[in-house]
């Protein structure tokens, strides 16, 4: 196992997906607002349509990046499963994330220590997010901040794994 191993790099893939979702979530929140408000403010009384240009850009850029991401992800996953037929990974898992390595007792300990760091991170920063939610900000901001927390979580986890694999 080295730093190029797919399972070591898995948090980086998570970071890439979450970054794309950050871009995309603006348009998704905007579209949900339009849907639940019966397109109020979008279709003007004179019949004109008021386009939110940032919403459109966010949707198309995010959509294209998502397609590129999933094509690259499935190619990488296919290659990994071909090289490791006895240790195949599934594309999506709701049970144990692929980045939790339990190959042997060293990696169990490394995963435990990385998880501990993530736990400390959430213990410190989730109360701040709750505080932020007390303010009347747009829903997009809350989703953005939660995605940012998830990115930092993966970065903490990857940084810890990497220092062991680099050695």
């Amino acid at each position: 196992m080295d730093k190029h191993d797919f399972r070591i790099q898995f948090p980086l893939w998570n970071i890439a997906l979450l970054s794309i979702l950050m871009i995309w979530c603006y348009s998704v929140v905007y579209a949900a607002d339009m849907l639940f408000n019966d397109f109020e403010g979008t279709i003007l009384p004179n019949g004109e349509i008021h386009w939110n240009i940032f919403g459109l850009i966010s949707f198309f850029v995010g959509f294209v990046l998502l397609i590129v991401f999933f094509v690259a992800y499935f190619l990488k996953l296919h290659r990994y499963n071909k090289e490791h037929p006895n240790n195949r990974l599934t594309a999506f898992t709701s049970m144990k994330p692929h980045e939790i390595l339990e190959d042997d007792e060293l990696f169990q300990q490394v995963s435990e220590k990385a998880t501990k760091k993530v736990y400390i991170f959430y213990s410190n920063y989730l109360p701040l997010v709750i505080l932020l939610m007390a303010f009347p900000l747009h829903r997009f901001v809350f989703i953005f901040v939660i995605l940012l927390l998830l990115i930092i979580q993966n970065a903490i986890y990857y940084r810890h794994l990497r220092q062991y694999v680099m050695n």
Partner: protein, 71 residues
């Protein structure tokens, strides 16, 4: 700190880290970290290492402070 003679005995048996790892059921990285004294193996792994390196566990691993006490 736990000190050991894994590197010396592995070399004496002509084994690479990967080969010794395969024999005892761990990764190359684990052997490397044990050799550097940065990872303390479990009792089960210590016993497996001692068995494959044909040595007693207490001759393969010892505590640094025990060595200091002897000198």
């Amino acid at each position: 700190m736990l000190r050991n003679r894994v590197k010396e005995l592995r070399a004496r048996h002509g084994l690479s880290q990967s080969e010794l790892g395969n024999l005892v059921g761990v990764t190359r990285q684990t052997i490397g970290f044990i050799e550097k004294g940065e990872f303390s193996p479990s009792i089960a792994l210590s016993l497996r290492l001692a068995k494959h390196l044909q040595i007693r566990v207490d001759e393969l691993f010892w505590l640094e402070e025990d060595l200091d006490g002897q000198t």
